[in-house]
Symmetry: D2
Subunit: 108 residues, 4 copies
């Protein structure tokens, strides 16, 4: 996956549709949250066990679709804000490694 290439593609896509006026960082953060919520909506009435089977059910395509939307808005947001996604993820993984030494019993 070439993050920079995707950022450029999505930027051009927005420019060609005159969507830059809508793509403020605030609106993109809202849109990202809305898409993440649409993704979780698929899981809301499922048991933990049923949630593992979601990709063999009727809503598999919806899951893929919402996952893609989350990723797309995240890429737009980091592009607009000039954030290096790879750097911040690597930094967070390494910070988590110090905060939670192996064999901890509960997630953050």
């Amino acid at each position: 996956m070439d993050i920079d290439d995707w950022r450029r593609q999505l930027r051009t896509f927005a420019v060609q549709r005159h969507w830059e006026q809508f793509h403020t960082p605030k609106n993109l953060a809202m849109a990202l949250s809305v898409e993440a919520s649409e993704l979780q909506e698929i899981f809301q009435w499922l048991t933990p066990e049923q949630s593992f089977q979601v990709m063999s059910g009727q809503r598999a395509c919806d899951v893929e679709d919402e996952v893609a939307d989350v990723m797309i808005y995240l890429l737009r947001l980091v592009d607009i804000l000039g954030i290096d996604l790879e750097r911040v993820v690597a930094a967070k993984i390494s910070r988590n490694a110090s905060r939670f030494p192996p064999r901890g019993l509960s997630p953050s």
Copy 2:
């Protein structure tokens, strides 16, 4: 960015901390939504104009931190569900290109 490498790293990280019991698809979708909401919380009282300045303000690190958390939970979720992130994003971009021909006046 090597998505597969990150997926592996995060998987090992979870296994070493016995977090697999918590990482059901349902819980990961919730966690993703919670992190996306923490990201938008940073923007909630800002004007559209102020939101463009967020990376030169006091909360720049918080923005980076929440962006990383969103990406990390998205990677965990696609790993658990066996979703090919690159494929679904590419498919969605191409679907959007048909749905919204260039020069449309409003975003989806």
Copy 3:
């Protein structure tokens, strides 16, 4: 508005449809969050000024519908958890009054 009466009505409604199995506190908290997100979705691309006109536009009924859904899931959640909604709201208003003396310049 008689909160207790509504709580009873909604409880009976759930029981008659065998929905109690789905109405765990965790699922209701998710559902509440999903509905609040559907409400904010209506506003996501609007300017602050446009957002004041939403009730004279095409989506006025959607706003009312989502507002009702948020209230309904909040009532179900406090009912299941045995929370006295009036007491906790009154307590929070009085706590906010101490935390934010009049004439503060920014919201929490």
Copy 4:
């Protein structure tokens, strides 16, 4: 619970702190969603069974606090938009009664 009285109280509270500038419908819808997400965050790693015990645990006060925040922002939003909360909830309950006849097997 006197909804109108609370709406007036919260309106005065906002005016006295010069918060009206922040309380656009768009920002209030965001804030409502953020609070609902903070509420669900408390439940995110719990099993369905554990979620029933949340009010006897360490986070009981957090649950009450977030429940109050959701209600407060909902009241501010309906006040700003001129929505009659009782009317829209009653309308939705009666619509749900037609949509889901008793003994349905799954929630909406």
